[in-house]
């Protein structure tokens, strides 16, 4: 009994009474019976699931579909806003859009800013009213641009004791901040819809944010590709250009957003 237990643990000195050849035969027999056992009996579902999970974790697979849609959608939004902005600056909007459409748009904005919710945002004296939403928007900005800056600085070459892909988990905080700001931004827009909509700086800011989101999505997509071995690691200069572009776009977006309060 003790001997069989010892040979299972595989310690060569624990059973001196056996000849090496005999021990090999004994191990062989155990192996055979284990194999036969697993051929007849399926492993318990929980063990099976755990093995599958471990295998999946060991071989990272990356499917870029989500990023494909995110990059596509945000670039489209940015392009549309920029085209509209240029048309507005050249003064062709009035000629292109029928009076009917323009009037319906204006009506919608007035309706939006007069909903119960929008009026509450504007008139509430409480700290969760307009000022609280504005704080959330500033807090979200610090998270989005702050952690983007940390990622971009690493990709530009600062803090090179981290591996390039080590910053990738920070993206979940970038997207959390973006979610906070999309929500708080929509509320701030609702509270002041007609005036915001006619401000070209507001439209420029939205376009810049859309470009910033697209750039961050491209960066995360490429980092995930490097991590999963789809792309080679020697693309540092590509990452550097993307990171510089992202930093410049965020700075411009902050400037446009902040100046909304001053220029118009």
């Amino acid at each position: 009994m003790t001997d069989s237990h010892m040979s299972l643990t595989g310690s060569p000195h624990s059973s001196p009474s056996h000849e090496p050849a005999a021990r090999d035969a004994f191990d062989q027999a155990i192996d055979d019976s284990i194999r036969r056992y697993f051929m007849r009996h399926d492993p318990p579902a929980r063990v099976y699931a755990r093995v599958l999970e471990a295998t999946r974790a060991a071989t990272p697979r990356y499917d870029g579909t989500l990023f494909f849609w995110l990059i596509g959608a945000s670039s489209t939004v940015a392009a549309m806003l920029l085209v509209n902005l240029v048309r507005q600056l050249l003064g062709v909007t009035a000629a292109q859009v029928s009076a009917d459409t323009a009037a319906r748009g204006a009506l919608f904005l007035v309706w939006l800013s007069n909903t119960e919710f929008a009026r509450w945002i504007n008139e509430s004296e409480s700290v969760i009213g307009y000022s609280g939403i504005l704080f959330l928007h500033t807090f979200g900005l610090a998270i989005v641009v702050g952690f983007s800056t940390a990622i971009d600085l690493r990709l530009i070459g600062a803090a090179s004791r981290m591996s390039m892909t080590a910053v990738r988990p920070l993206f979940r905080y970038v997207w959390f901040g973006f979610f906070v700001n999309a929500l708080s931004g929509a509320m701030l827009f609702a509270a002041d819809a007609p005036r915001k909509a006619e401000n070209p700086l507001f439209e420029l800011k939205l376009a810049l944010v859309a470009i910033g989101v697209a750039l961050m999505a491209v960066i995360q997509h490429r980092l995930l590709q490097v991590e999963s071995g789809v792309a080679r690691r020697d693309s540092e200069s590509g990452f550097r250009n993307l990171a510089i572009a992202s930093l410049l776009i965020w700075v411009a977006a902050i400037a446009a957003g902040r100046l909304i309060a001053y220029a118009f």
Binding site: V145, A159, A166, A261
Partner: protein, 163 residues
């Protein structure tokens, strides 16, 4: 305090800050950029120490702190210019006093972090290492205090009527 504010208001620098509207607006933009850089670079180290992000050695994240200090420097300069421009709207503003209080506490937290040797303790942590409890307390305190600084900064126009 009031007399001091009146004197600051009478300086040439104060005139420059308020006379050209673009000075104030530019400082606002820079103040928000500095805030983001500070919050992101310090926050990245805080999150690493809290264990919410572990794929980097702490020494690697530490190299971002100097950029956070750059953001802080930008905000000290621009914030100083705001104060010099309109001192009277800040000295009596409770939001301003709370912002300065949180700023002081955040500075104290940084000082303790280095003086108590916790900063040296975490410096050697490799990827996926857990940091000691004391480091987590410093990190959580830092995140709370900087968020408080942003909150009271944003409340300046709403609690005390600054702009």
């Amino acid at each position: 305090m009031h007399a001091f504010a009146v004197w600051v208001k009478s300086t040439d620098l104060s005139w420059v800050v308020t006379h050209y509207s673009w000075v104030w607006a530019t400082c606002e933009v820079l103040h928000f950029i500095g805030m983001s850089v500070l919050f992101g670079c310090i926050g990245a180290l805080d999150l690493r120490m809290l264990g919410w992000w572990k794929s980097s050695p702490v020494a690697g994240v530490n190299a971002l702190v100097r950029w956070g200090v750059l953001g802080f420097a930008i905000n000290v300069v621009t914030g100083f210019l705001f104060f010099v421009g309109e001192p009277l709207q800040y000295v009596d503003n409770p939001a301003f006093l709370f912002k300065m209080l949180f700023l002081g506490l955040a500075g104290w937290n940084v000082w303790l972090f280095y003086v108590t040797g916790v900063a040296d303790q975490v410096e050697s942590l490799e990827p996926h290492d857990d940091s000691p409890f004391s480091a987590k307390v410093f990190a959580a305190t830092s995140l709370f205090l900087w968020t408080g600084v942003i909150f009271f900064g944003r409340m300046l126009p709403y609690i005390g009527g600054s702009f």
